[in-house]
């Protein structure tokens, strides 16, 4: 037992390159992504909706009933203000707590109409773990700048201490648990995936018709599946095996990277072909991206030195006041047009991220395969030569 616990601790406490910078930059990406998510739907729209189709969840007894559009928009404004502070890195623990509470409440009101499982990653799990691990405000934040000025305790972005990788490792555990649960539920109880052999082909055809009706591109494989529905059971079994195999994320190195690549392709195809909106899960994958390396590439070029120097000379206090004013301004103008800025006036829809993720993931997987093949060929050649 002790050996198992030691092994678990060892997994959590391995150093991770650039971990401090990675989690700090992730906080900014998370905040901006969440603002985009909020901008897509005004929760005030649910007020007055007739007979929600679902029984009210016990959770809704914990929050005031949604009787006024203004009150719900007020809730959304609080969430937006906290997200702006989070992006700026001001009062990060408090901003995170407000994002967690206001975000769950906002999503909860909609739960009477439909439950979006993927959104739970964005609105509940990641903010909760960020709050508990409490490290994502220690770099690239106004808080860190203040601490550095005050007593020099702020962390360097290149710090590879395991504590900065806690959120990323917790995300891996979440993915490695939740996807296998999804796979198990498809096979057991009310699960229909192994009982109805033509489930996925029928869904693909249904969604292809839906896509055509919305003016989106239809599934090019539709006609083939219309005549080869018997392949469905293999596809369905493949999806289940794929979901179960998310436990492989717990392994490191190439296995995790390849698994993540396939996961991106899987989600992107689900979104673009099956119209399954599962964007919230990107919040978990985002913790695993090495944002710091990308930022270092930009930073070494030191763009706009004069502007940077002037901005730095203002000091953290002035910037903090500015961030606070900006948070209030964006929150109060959110329903008067600021929300449109975050989805570029409707250009960034729920499908847009997948149009980017799909080609990047496919090219990444092919490049990895090509590199592995050429390395293998090189080694074989050297062995023969030697």
């Amino acid at each position: 037992m002790n050996r198992v616990l030691t092994h678990i601790d060892g997994w959590f406490t391995r150093p991770s390159a650039n971990a401090a910078g990675q989690v700090g930059l992730y906080r900014i990406v998370f905040g901006l992504g969440y603002l985009w998510h909020v901008s897509l739907f005004d929760v005030g729209a649910i007020v007055g909706a007739p007979n929600p189709p679902r029984e009210a969840l016990p959770f809704l007894q914990l929050v005031p009933s949604a009787t006024s559009s203004g009150a719900l928009q007020g809730l959304e404004m609080v969430l937006v203000g906290a997200l702006v502070l989070l992006v700026a890195g001001l009062w990060v623990p408090m901003s995170t707590a407000v994002v967690l509470v206001a975000g769950i409440a906002r999503e909860g009101y909609f739960s009477q109409f439909d439950i979006e499982n993927g959104n739970l990653m964005l609105v509940f799990l990641i903010p909760l773990l960020a709050l508990v691990s409490s490290v994502w405000g220690e770099t690239y934040s106004l808080d860190a700048w203040r601490y550095r000025r005050r007593d020099g305790t702020a962390s360097e972005s290149t710090n590879d201490a395991w504590s900065f990788a806690l959120l990323a490792r917790a995300s891996i555990v979440l993915l490695a648990v939740l996807f296998p649960i999804a796979g198990i539920l498809k096979m057991t109880g009310n699960g229909t995936w192994l009982r109805d052999g033509s489930l996925l082909p029928a869904l693909m055809l249904e969604r292809s018709v839906d896509a055509s009706l919305m003016g989106w591109f239809a599934n090019p494989l539709g006609p083939w599946f219309a005549t080869h529905a018997s392949w469905g059971i293999w596809l369905q079994a493949g999806v289940i095996v794929f979901e179960l195999s998310f436990v492989l994320l717990l392994m490191g190195g190439t296995v995790r990277r390849v698994m993540l690549g396939f996961a991106m392709v899987f989600h992107a195809l689900s979104a673009l072909v099956l119209l399954v909106s599962f964007n919230g899960v990107l919040a978990a994958y985002g913790t695993l991206v090495d944002w710091e390396s990308g930022w270092q590439q930009i930073r070494v070029r030191r763009p706009l030195p004069a502007l940077r120097q002037r901005a730095g000379a203002l000091g953290p206090f002035v910037w903090s006041v500015g961030a606070g004013v900006l948070a209030v301004a964006i929150a109060f103008s959110w329903h008067q047009g600021a929300a449109d800025v975050f989805n570029v006036w409707g250009l960034l829809t729920w499908r847009t991220p997948w149009l980017v993720v799909a080609p990047v993931a496919i090219v990444g997987l092919l490049w990895r395969q090509w590199r592995a093949s050429s390395l293998h060929a090189q080694r074989t050649k050297q062995r023969r030569g030697g």
């Binding site: 729209a45 189709p53 969840l57 395991w162 539920l185 109880g189």
Partner: protein, 163 residues
């Protein structure tokens, strides 16, 4: 904060994260596919999915809007709210067409009008009409529906929007 204190704090955070993950996993496994205790839900994603091969025709309700300036706009349910929130628009449209329950119909029409105003960004709307449009489905073709050639379009309901 000195290094020893920092390290002690890190260990506390590590244990808190581990405990939280353990608790969540336990509760998810115990709940199975139940969504009752949302937000603690263990991803029963499409587990009890049912899907049927599409019929030879498909129907959708369109929302036709007469604006205050005399112009006309046509909206799909998908234009009323973001795609993943579509059940909200579906609930409104269904209620607005209810022939049996006048109270539900009135609530549906009022809510549908508010969704249309949000979608169009204006309250200057005179009336709204719902019509059902039917298309032929040809599964052997891509796309399977020719949007420009509906088989029929039948008015279902119309109502004035109070200013």
């Amino acid at each position: 904060m000195n290094r020893t204190a920092r390290r002690a704090g890190d260990v506390v955070r590590l244990r808190a994260v581990q405990l939280l993950l353990l608790l969540l996993t336990g509760v998810w496994l115990w709940l199975g596919g139940s969504e009752r205790y949302w937000p603690i839900v263990g991803w029963p994603m499409y587990d009890a999915l049912t899907a049927a091969r599409p019929d030879e025709s498909v129907a959708r309700v369109y929302v036709r809007v007469w604006m205050g300036d005399g112009s006309r706009r046509t909206l799909r349910q998908a234009d009323l709210v973001e795609y993943s929130r579509a059940p909200l628009a579906g609930a409104s449209v269904n209620a607005a067409m209810d022939q049996h329950n006048p109270r539900r119909r009135a609530a549906g029409q009022a809510h549908l009008a508010s969704l249309v105003m949000r979608a169009l960004g204006t309250a200057a709307i005179d009336s709204i009409a719902l019509s059902q449009t039917v298309w032929a489905v040809r599964l052997g073709q891509v796309p399977p529906v020719d949007l420009a050639r509906p088989l029929s379009s039948v008015p279902i309901a119309a109502f004035a929007v109070p200013r």
